[in-house]
């Protein structure tokens, strides 16, 4: 595969250039592309997982570290059959008023449960995955948090991953 054809396979060619243009001096300095995997089965047969930077976590679990100046590189598993009332948000860096009234606006767990119940997707992984987006060490982010979540997603037999920033 040529570099040109690889670039055309990107969900959004030029993404990193756009980010760096808009946020000069920001943490992102990547110039490489992101390989995408094609879905090899109908959506209705595929098991979906959800990955979010919203800082959503089950009540009673160790709160995300929102005070550390360089960030928190851990993630929490959120049971995909959880109710919004079982969950809470620990995050300071985005407006949470709306999400505290209806968690689905930032972490659409009930919408995804409904999609699975209606058969639009083949099912949900047992866990969804959540972390906070305030992480200033991009190398650590890639080497630890991203890899840890990727391993967990694979172990959970996910066939589609829906990623949503907060």
């Amino acid at each position: 595969m040529t570099a040109g054809s690889e670039r055309r396979r990107q969900l959004r060619p030029g993404l990193w250039e756009t980010v760096n243009e808009r946020y000069p001096g920001a943490m992102i300095s990547k110039t490489d592309t992101v390989p995408l995997a094609r879905l090899d089965k109908p959506l209705a047969d595929a098991r979906l997982t959800f990955i979010s930077s919203a800082g959503v976590q089950p009540k009673g679990t160790l709160p995300f570290d929102v005070v550390h100046p360089v960030g928190d590189y851990t993630f929490r598993r959120v049971p995909s059959d959880a109710s919004p009332s079982d969950l809470e948000i620990h995050q300071l860096k985005y407006p949470t008023d709306g999400a505290n009234r209806d968690l689905n606006v930032i972490f659409p767990i009930e919408r995804l449960q409904a999609l699975a119940a209606d058969g639009l997707v083949g099912g949900l992984t047992s866990s969804f995955f959540s972390f906070i987006g305030y992480n200033m060490d991009v190398k650590r982010l890639e080497a630890t948090l991203a890899e840890d979540i990727a391993d967990a997603v694979v172990a959970d037999h996910a066939e589609i991953a829906l990623l949503a920033p907060a």
């Binding site: 001096g25 920001a26 943490m27 300095s29 800082g55 709160p63 929102v66 005070v67 550390h68 100046p69 360089v70 948000i89 620990h90 995050q91 300071l92 860096k93 985005y94 407006p95 949470t96 008023d97 200033m136 060490d137 991009v138 190398k139 650590r140």
Partner: protein
């Protein structure tokens, strides 16, 4: 700002860049608000000590003597947000 930016600032002794980063962190991206937040935490700490209430001095002595500098620095940031929260003037949208 990236960690590389901060490490470069440390290497060249640019403390203004470092404290500005702290102000942006505690001020949710607003430099001037960060100054206000830092002042707010100190004022709150002073207020609760004005009546000279009993405090666990032994805990403080033991903590400072026995905990590593990274844990103490982490505690310092935690105390900042805790005191600001206790002041009742919470600018942040989320919670600790």
């Amino acid at each position: 700002m990236s960690l590389d930016y901060l490490n470069d600032a440390v290497a060249r002794g640019d403390n203004e860049a470092l404290i500005r980063y702290v102000r942006l962190h505690v001020g949710d991206g607003d430099d001037q608000q960060g100054r206000t937040e830092i002042d707010k935490a100190w004022v709150q700490a002073l207020k609760v000590l004005l009546d000279v209430p009993p405090t666990d001095r032994q805990f403080i002595v033991d903590t400072l003597a026995n905990k590593d500098q990274a844990t103490l620095a982490h505690l310092f940031f935690s105390l900042h947000f805790h005191l600001v929260n206790a002041s009742g003037e919470w600018i942040h949208d989320g919670r600790l």
